[in-house]
C-alpha cells in the first residue's frame, strides 16, 4: 500500500507540464495564457504540498527511495513560492526582450519538478534523476535569449561544466554503490562499517558535484559568466531556486547516510565554506556589472549557509535553512530593483547606472539601501540575524576559526555593498528610469524590503517554523 497522495504535488505538476505543452503546441499565440496557467499550477502545487504533506511524520515511499518529512515539505514549498515570484516579476522583462514564449514557463515548471524530486529523494538514483531533470531545463533557460551571443555562451558553458560535474557525481554514486551494494540512503548507512576509506572517495566525488551545483568555491567558475550572460529573469531563478534544492540535498546526503563518517567530510565542508565566504567577498570588489557582482555575493552567501551545515548539529542545519530563507527574500528584493532599472524598454545592469538614484527615485533607492545593508549583515536588518544564527551554531561546536574568518569576510563584503550605496547616494544623478512597473514587481520589492526591515520585531516565528526540522 503506497500513500500516493504524498507525492500528489509531483504528480499534479508533471501532468500539468504535459498538458501545458500540448496546449502550447495546439493553440497559437498562447504564451500569455500558458504563463498565467503556470502561475496557477505553481500555486496549486504549493497548496497541495501544504495540505498533504506539511504535518506528516517522516514517511518513506517506493521502497524507501522517496522520503516525505518536514524538511522536504518546507523546502518544496519554498521552491514553489520562489519559482512563482520569479515567474511573476519577470514577465515584463521577457516581453521587452521578445522572449516571452510558451517554453519559458514550462521549462521553469520542469526544473521545479526536478528540484522537488531532488528534495524528496532518499536514494542515489532518484536523486540523480531529479538533478538531471532540473539541470537540463536550466541549460535551456540559460540560453533562452538565443539571439544574444552572451546568452548562448552562458548556456554552453553551463552545459559543459555541469555535465562534467554530473559525471563526477555519478562516479561517486557508483563508488558508493560498489562498496555498500545499496543506493538507498538508509541502507548505505547500515553498510558503512568496514569500507570507510573507499567510501570517502565516493563522498568526495559527490560533494564536488553538489558544490558545483550550489556554486561553492573552488567549483564556482561558471557562476559569474552564466549569471551575467543569462537573461536577468533567469539569473534571478539561478540565484534562488536551485540553491534551495541543492542545499536540502546537501543536508540529506551528508546527514542521513554518512553521519558516522563526519570526520571525513566535515573538513571538506569547512574548506568549501571558508573558501566561498572569502573568495566571494574579495572577488566581488572589482566587479562593475551588477549581475556579476551578485554572482560573487551569492557565492559568499552560499559559504555562510555551508558553514551551518559543517557543524553537524540540528541547530546548524536549522540555521542554514533560516539563512537560505532570508537570503532568498533579500535576493528577491535585489533583483526586483535590478528589473526596475529600465529606461525606454532597455534594461541597465552596470553598477554605474545606479548613480544618483536616490535623487530621482527615493523610494527605490531606500529599498535597495535596506537590502544591501541587510546583505552586508548589519543589524538590525534580517541579514544580520541570518548570520547571527549561523555563527551561533558554529561557535557552539567551538569552530572559532570558521567563525572568525566568516565574520572578517563580512567586513570585506561590506565594502562592495557600501560601494553600491555610495554610487546611489553620494554620486551625481543620471537620467531617470521608467516608473511604470508591473504591480507584482512593486509588490515583491515592497514586501521583501518590509520583511527585511521589520524582521527584528518577530524573530521567533521563523525559528519556530524551522525548528521542526530534525534530521539527526
Amino acid at each position: 500500500m503506497i500513500n500516493l497522495e504524498l507525492v500528489f504535488p509531483e504528480i499534479f505538476l508533471s501532468l500539468s507540464i504535459m498538458f501545458l505543452l500540448i496546449l502550447g503546441v495546439f493553440k497559437k499565440n498562447s504564451s500569455v495564457l500558458i504563463h498565467n496557467l503556470s502561475l496557477i499550477v505553481l500555486l496549486v502545487t504549493a497548496v497541495i504540498t501544504i495540505n498533504e504533506t506539511l504535518g506528516i511524520e517522516e514517511t518513506f515511499l517506493f521502497n524507501g527511495s522517496i522520503v516525505i518529512d518536514y524538511l522536504s515539505s518546507f523546502m518544496k514549498i519554498m521552491t514553489l513560492i520562489a519559482a512563482f515570484l520569479v515567474l511573476v516579476i519577470s514577465s515584463n522583462y521577457l516581453k521587452a526582450f521578445k522572449i516571452f514564449k510558451i517554453e519559458y514557463p514550462i521549462l521553469i515548471l520542469s526544473s521545479v519538478l526536478g528540484m522537488m524530486v531532488m528534495i524528496s529523494s532518499n536514494d542515489l538514483i532518484v536523486f540523480y534523476m531529479g538533478l538531471e531533470l532540473q539541470s537540463l531545463a536550466l541549460y535551456v533557460l540559460a540560453t533562452f535569449n538565443r539571439d544574444q551571443l552572451k546568452s548562448s555562451e552562458a548556456g554552453l558553458k553551463y552545459f559543459v561544466l555541469s555535465a562534467l560535474s554530473s559525471g563526477l557525481l555519478l562516479y561517486g554514486c557508483s563508488l558508493i554503490y560498489g562498496f555498500t551494494g545499496a543506493t538507498n540512503f538508509i541502507l548505505i548507512a547500515d553498510q558503512l562499517g568496514s569500507n570507510e576509506y573507499a567510501l570517502t572517495f565516493g563522498i568526495v566525488f559527490i560533494l564536488v558535484g553538489l558544490a558545483f551545483k550550489i556554486s561553492a568555491v573552488p567549483f564556482h567558475m561558471w557562476a559569474p559568466d552564466v549569471y551575467e550572460g543569462s537573461p536577468t529573469s533567469v539569473t534571478l531563478f539561478f540565484t534562488m531556486v536551485p540553491k534551495i534544492a541543492a542545499l536540502s540535498v546537501f543536508i540529506r546526503f551528508l546527514y542521513v547516510p554518512f553521519l558516522n563518517l563526519i570526520e571525513q567530510w566535515q573538513m571538506i565542508l569547512v574548506f568549501l565554506s571558508i573558501a566561498s565566504m572569502l573568495f566571494g567577498a574579495i572577488a566581488a570588489i572589482g566587479q562593475t556589472n551588477l549581475k556579476r557582482l551578485i554572482a560573487y555575493s551569492s557565492i559568499s552567501h552560499v559559504g555562510y549557509a555551508l558553514a551551518g551545515l559543517a557543524t553537524s548539529s540540528n541547530d546548524g542545519i536549522q540555521s542554514s535553512v533560516i539563512y537560505i530563507t532570508i537570503y532568498i527574500i533579500m535576493n528577491l528584493g535585489l533583483f526586483s530593483c535590478l528589473l526596475m532599472m529600465r529606461r525606454n524598454n532597455e534594461y541597465y545592469e552596470d553598477i554605474n547606472d545606479l548613480s544618483g538614484l536616490s535623487k530621482n527615485h527615493p523610494l527605490l533607492s531606500i529599498s535597495l539601501l535596506v537590502i544591501l545593508f541587510s546583505l552586508a549583515g548589519i543589524p538590525p536588518l534580517a541579514g544580520f540575524f541570518a548570520k547571527f544564527y549561523i555563527f551561533k551554531s558554529v561557535l557552539e561546536q567551538s569552530m572559532y576559526f570558521l567563525a572568525i574568518v566568516g565574520l572578517l569576510s563580512t567586513v570585506v563584503a561590506a565594502f562592495y555593498y557600501l560601494r553600491i550605496i555610495k554610487i546611489m547616494y553620494f554620486d551625481k544623478e543620471k537620467e531617470k528610469f521608467d516608473t511604470d512597473h508591473s504591480m507584482w514587481l512593486k509588490f515583491s520589492l515592497t514586501a521583501s524590503t518590509l520583511l527585511i526591515l521589520i524582521y527584528f520585531i518577530f524573530p521567533s516565528q521563523l525559528i519556530e517554523v524551522v525548528s521542526r526540522i530534525n534530521i539527526i
Partner: protein, 493 residues
C-alpha cells in the same frame, strides 16, 4: 508604575523619523519638518529629565528594568539603567535637539532625510546606553553605523566618500570580533543577560580572549591610539551636526562599554591588561596632543584633541579608583558638551566663510565679539580651567591615576599642559591678532538660534564646573559598587 519609559525613549525618535519619512519634503515645508523633529527630540529630552527625577540615587541596582522575550529561548529584550548609564542617556537627549536646531545654517539639501538620520541615530544611541543584554547592545551599537555612514557620505565635505568608508569599515572590523565574543559568552555561560552575568561571573580562563575581543571593538570606537585614524577624517568631512553627534555621543559608547562590560564582566582580564590600556592612553594623550598642535584645520585639531581627551577617559577607567572612574564619566559628559560646542563654533564660522583653515581667520574678536566670548568659554573648558566641567573630570582622573600609578599620572599631567597649549594657540590665531583677511569684515555675529545653542551648552559646562554634585551623586553608588565587585573578583583569582 510599569510604564515602559526606557522603551519609549528608544522608540520615540524613530516614530518621529517615520512621520518625517511619510511627509513630502520641499522648500516650503522644510520648517515644518524641522519642527516635527525638534518636537520629537524635545519630548524625548523632557522624558529623560523626568527619568532622572524618578531615578533612585541610593542604589546601584538596575532600575526601570524591562524584560521581554524576544527570540524564544535565546535572547531577551532587556533594558534598564543604573547611575552610570543615565547620564549618557540625558547627554544624548540633550545634544540631539541642539543638533536639530543647528541644521538650518549648514544643511541645504535633503533636510528631511538628514533629520530622519539624526532621529534614528538618537534611537540607536539611547538603545546602546540602556541595553542589558549583550546581543541587544551589539544590535544598537552596530546599527548606529548605518545612519552615521549616510550622514557623513551624503552631507559631508569633499573627501566624504573616503571618510565614510573608513569610518564604517574600521568600526565594523572592530565589532565583528565582539560578536564572536558575545556568542562565545552565550555558550560559556548560557546567557547574554548582563545582570545574570554580573552575578555568576565568567570563568577566568576565558576572560583574556573575550576581553581582547571586546577591546578591539571599543578601542576603535573610543578611539585609542593607533586605531584612531578614522576619527579625524570622519570629523573633518562630516557636517557640523554629524561631527557633534560623533564627538559628543558616539565616542562615549566605547567608554561606557569599557566600564559596563570590560570592567564588569572581565575583572580578572582587566587587571591583566591595565598596563596595555595605560600605555595606549598615555601615548594617545601625549602623541595626539602634539599632532593637534600642528594642525591647520580647526576641525582636525578638535578631532585630535578628542582623541587625547578620550585617552584621559580610558586612563581614568582603568585606574579602578572611585575618583578615577567618576572622573572618567564626568570627563565624558564634559567632553560631550565641550566638543559639541567647539564643533558648533567651527560650524558657525564655516557657514560664513566656508573655510575651516586657521589661517583664514585672525582678529575676528572685534567683528564678532559675542562669538569670541563663547568660543573662549569652550576653549577654556577644553583645556580644563578650574570652574569649567573639563577641570573636574581631568582633576579626578589624575587623582585616581596618582593613587594607582605615579609615573603614568605624571606623564598624563604633561598632556594637560600641551592641551592648554594647542587650545590657547588655536584661540589666539583665530580670534586675536591682526585682521589681515579683509573678507572677514563681512561676517555677522551669532544669530538667535546659534546664540541659543551655544548658551545651552555653556550653562551646563559652567554649572557642572562649579557644582558637579548632581552628577557625582548620581554615579557614586553605582561606581563604588562596581569597584567593590571588581576587587572581590580579582582577589579571588
Amino acid at each position: 508604575m510599569n510604564f515602559p519609559i526606557l522603551s519609549s525613549l528608544i522608540l520615540l525618535p524613530s516614530i518621529g523619523a517615520l512621520f518625517l519619512f511619510f511627509s513630502r519634503s520641499n522648500k516650503e515645508n522644510n520648517i515644518t519638518v524641522k519642527y516635527v523633529a525638534l518636537f520629537t527630540s524635545l519630548v524625548n529630552f523632557f522624558l529623560s529629565i523626568y527619568l532622572w527625577i524618578l531615578f533612585d540615587q541610593s542604589t546601584s541596582d538596575f532600575q526601570f528594568v524591562e524584560d521581554r522575550i524576544w527570540i524564544e529561548g535565546l535572547i531577551n529584550y532587556k533594558v534598564g539603567i543604573d547611575g552610570i548609564s543615565i547620564l549618557f542617556i540625558i547627554l544624548t537627549t540633550f545634544i540631539t535637539p541642539l543638533c536639530i536646531i543647528s541644521v538650518n545654517n549648514s544643511i541645504k539639501n535633503r533636510l528631511n532625510e538628514f533629520l530622519i538620520a539624526i532621529l534614528v541615530m538618537e534611537s540607536f544611541m539611547i538603545g546602546v546606553f540602556c541595553s542589558l543584554d549583550l546581543v541587544v547592545f551589539y544590535l544598537f551599537f552596530e546599527a548606529g553605523l548605518i545612519p552615521m555612514f549616510l550622514i557623513i557620505g551624503i552631507w559631508g565635505g569633499t573627501r566624504r566618500v573616503y571618510s565614510a568608508f573608513k569610518f564604517f569599515l574600521f568600526t565594523l572590523l572592530g565589532s565583528v570580533l565582539m560578536l564572536v565574543a558575545i556568542i562565545s559568552i552565550y555558550w560559556i555561560s548560557g546567557t547574554t543577560d548582563v545582570i545574570e552575568l554580573y552575578q555568576q561571573g565568567i570563568d577566568s580562563k576565558y576572560q583574556n580572549l573575550l576581553w581582547l575581543a571586546f577591546f578591539s571593538s571599543f578601542a576603535v570606537k573610543t578611539p585609542m591610539w593607533p586605531v584612531h585614524t578614522w576619527l579625524p577624517d570622519a570629523h573633518v568631512e562630516a557636517p557640523t551636526a554629524g561631527s557633534v553627534l560623533l564627538a559628543a555621543i558616539l565616542l562615549k559608547m566605547a567608554g561606557y562599554g569599557f566600564i559596563r562590560f570590560s570592567l564588569g564582566l572581565f575583572p580578572v582580564a582587566s587587571e591583566i591588561f591595565t598596563p596595555l590600556i595605560y600605555t595606549l592612553s598615555v601615548i594617545a594623550i601625549i602623541f595626539t596632543s602634539f599632532i593637534a598642535l600642528m594642525q591647520e584645520d580647526m576641525k582636525k585639531l578638535i578631532a585630535y584633541s578628542s582623541v587625547a581627551h578620550m585617552g584621559f577617559v580610558t586612563l581614568g577607567i582603568f585606574t579602578i579608583q572611585q575618583q578615577g572612574l567618576e572622573g572618567s564619566i564626568l570627563q565624558m559628559i564634559s567632553h560631550g558638551l565641550v566638543a559639541a560646542a567647539l564643533f558648533l563654533c567651527v560650524g558657525v564660522v564655516y557657514d560664513r566663510m566656508h573655510s575651516r583653515l586657521i589661517d583664514t581667520y585672525g582678529g575676528i574678536v572685534s567683528i564678532i565679539p559675542k562669538y569670541s566670548v563663547f568660543f573662549m568659554i569652550f576653549t577654556l573648558a577644553a583645556l580644563g580651567l578650574p570652574g569649567t566641567s573639563g577641570f573636574v573630570g581631568e582633576f579626578l582622573i589624575l587623582m585616581g591615576a596618582f593613587k594607582d600609578n605615579f609615573l603614568v599620572a605624571v606623564i598624563a599631567s604633561l598632556g594637560v599642559i600641551i592641551g592648554a597649549a594647542y587650545m590657547l594657540w588655536l584661540y589666539k590665531r583665530v580670534v586675536f591678532g591682526k585682521l589681515i583677511n579683509s573678507d572677514l569684515k563681512q561676517m555677522v555675529d551669532l544669530n538667535r538660534s546659534e546664540l541659543f545653542i551655544l548658551s545651552c551648552l555653556a550653562v551646563p559646562i559652567l554649572l557642572f564646573g562649579f557644582y558637579p554634585d548632581p552628577l557625582i551623586n548620581t554615579i557614586e553608588v553605582s561606581i563604588s559598587d562596581l569597584i567593590d565587585t571588581y576587587n572581590i573578583n580579582t582577589m579571588n583569582n
